[in-house]
Symmetry: C2
Subunit: 383 residues, 2 copies
């Protein structure tokens, strides 16, 4: 079984793409669109073949033979062939052009540099509703979590996302109810950048209750998918989508998550890609924090309590407030001093167990800091 | 200046100690009692000298000369000398005998093996109100935290301490208000072992509101101090006491703590002694959890959410419930199946992007687990 390319459809797709993309409608771009329609997200056989022969060459190869001696490729062709309909490619381009979507390809300025780490699992192209240049943000943090979030979780997601967005850091999430929505909304409210990666086509609003949020994100940020317009979100596509959220973020922070939440899957991708991983703790009596605690315990996630903690994960550090250091001598001498009556150096030495010379030296330091005062009968604590 | 030993007092101390301790009232035991009265907790010069010359030899040495050529020792003698009153040793023994305290010395069966790790900072002896054999528990966990705990913190401390005590693990804490008290009480309620390390003498009830709790701990567990009876608790002695709580515990768990809480000091001791360190997370909006989150982030503390987590830190592991593994093929095929109408292998291959052979193999596995049923027109999800 081979993939037979439909010449008529090809010509139609080429014309539509030229009208949509202009000079960018190269044979390579068209072939990537075709691969995006043909394969499920993260298909590593397709990814490796495209890396080796280019998208157009790879498509040509699988139209020509049945994998040659390559058993893996032959099996892949066997699973791709039943899905191949050139008309679907035409439909995707038509839809994208009508809705004014942008197409982002590897090598474009807007292509997220983090996607290179996905190797053969990288998406073949990205379909963008909104501003594709959002994807080239200098710094991006992915904030994800439970759909069934608590008010605590949504509050915290909003605080983190708002603070990060305020500092020019792009807030990436999955546009779901709960934590995702709270993160996008806070970034939007502060006029910051926000990017939503969705599991189906960018024209499919899921969940339906987020139609207005999708609109708002698209108007100042970007809604992005690797699947072409018209694609239904499936469980597999949600899981695959999570790797993109993990790969684009310089750090991924899980705000609230059940013990087996999909956010754990995103966190696992972030960790395996070497991204900084953070988790926000919560009460151990809350099941919606159990996944975060699991990440802290088993995935070596950083305990995140503020946007500053997240920025520190990105290597953006604020000057820490110096901790007041109190020497053991100072603690022992302060214990021995009274605020009611003055004590001599001898008395203080006896009570504190410090040598008289150390008592005198420490008294000098405490005097400088205004903690002790000298009276006729010796020394006492300042009021 | 040298420490002049008072022959009369010595004789009196010897007689009282013999009445109190019987054959255990050796010159070495008496000398350790004297050192306990003389030095502040954790005095490393005393510790090193005692390790080198024995307690009696060390006392003899500092009564005889002024440190010889040893500058550190000369300085130590200068700070010890003003405190030396043989009458205090007599008073401590009298008090201990009258209150029926036990004395535990290094080398005794009840001496906590963990104290060896304290080196020259180890206590010279322990004064125990209650059962000294408590100190030789096979496993001990120190549970500490804020005095100004929240209901959440006290609830969690109680759950952890109760579960651990129920499993025969000794619960160690500092008998303060808040987390400490909740931990001791839960252990007592379950008839388990509990040990309180206090900063002053074991006859001093601090805080005063815990008089009844001290009584209860002493009646089935142990209240322990390194300072002799009559000693006032000071801030220095609290800090020094914390190292004993950290050293005796196979693990230390901080339940709630402010950012600069004394519990952070205990945790620091536990970490530097190589003990397992755990922290219970809480809402990031709660200042009484800020110290715990600091431990999770900066001290590599284990995120503790249950007594099982603590037991795992001790190397006592329960069989984990196996996680249900779902292969990518299974996820994709389940996405493609309907629960309303049957689909052929060909249809399923097209929808899932799996090869027909993989569809068949995966259907077989799903059929075995009862997830799918075969109908005339093909396969569908089981209701």
């Amino acid at each position: 079984m081979t993939l037979r390319v439909d010449a008529l459809c090809n010509a139609r797709a080429r014309d539509l793409a030229a009208a949509w993309l202009g000079e960018r409608a190269t044979p390579e771009a068209l072939a990537r669109i075709a691969w995006s329609v043909l394969v499920e997200p993260g298909d590593a056989t397709a990814g490796a073949l495209i890396a080796a022969e280019g998208a157009a060459g790879a498509l040509e190869r699988v139209s020509r033979d049945e994998g040659g001696g390559d058993k893996e490729l032959a099996q892949a062709i066997a699973r791709w062939a039943p899905r191949w309909q050139a008309a679907l490619v035409v439909a995707a381009i038509e839809q994208a052009a009508r809705r004014g979507l942008a197409l982002v390809l590897p090598g474009d300025v807007a292509w997220p540099r983090g996607f290179d780490d996905l190797g053969p699992h990288a998406p073949v192209c990205l379909w963008v509703r909104g501003d594709p240049n959002m994807l080239a943000a200098a710094a991006a943090v992915s904030i994800v979590g439970a759909r069934s979030a608590t008010p605590y979780g949504e509050h915290v997601a909003g605080i983190l996302a708002g603070d990060l967005a305020h500092d020019g850091i792009a807030v990436v999430s999955g546009a779901a109810y709960g934590i995702d929505g709270a993160a996008h909304r806070a970034a939007l409210q502060l006029g910051g950048r926000t990017i939503a990666f969705v599991a189906g086509g960018v024209d499919r609003v899921y969940p339906a209750g987020h139609a207005q949020l999708f609109q708002q994100i698209a108007s100042t940020g970007a809604v992005v998918a690797e699947c072409p317009p018209g694609t239904t979100p499936t469980r597999w596509r949600f899981l695959a989508r999570n790797r993109l959220i993990a790969a684009i973020g310089d750090a991924t922070v899980v705000v609230e998550a059940g013990f087996r939440s999909g956010s754990i899957n995103t966190a696992g991708h972030a960790a395996s890609l070497g991204r900084a991983l953070g988790a926000v703790p919560g009460p151990i009596t809350s099941t919606t924090s159990a996944g975060c605690h699991r990440l802290l315990r088993d995935y070596d996630a950083v305990c995140v309590t503020s946007a500053d903690d997240v920025k520190e994960m990105l290597g953006i550090t604020a000057d820490p407030a110096p901790l007041a250091y109190e020497s053991p001598e100072s603690v022992r001498l302060t214990d021995a001093l009274s605020n009611r009556r003055a004590r001599t150096v001898g008395e203080l030495a006896q009570r504190s167990g410090l040598a008289p010379g150390d008592v005198e030296a420490t008294l000098g330091l405490l005097h400088l800091s205004g903690s002790v005062v000298e009276r006729e009968g010796g020394w006492m604590l300042a009021r």
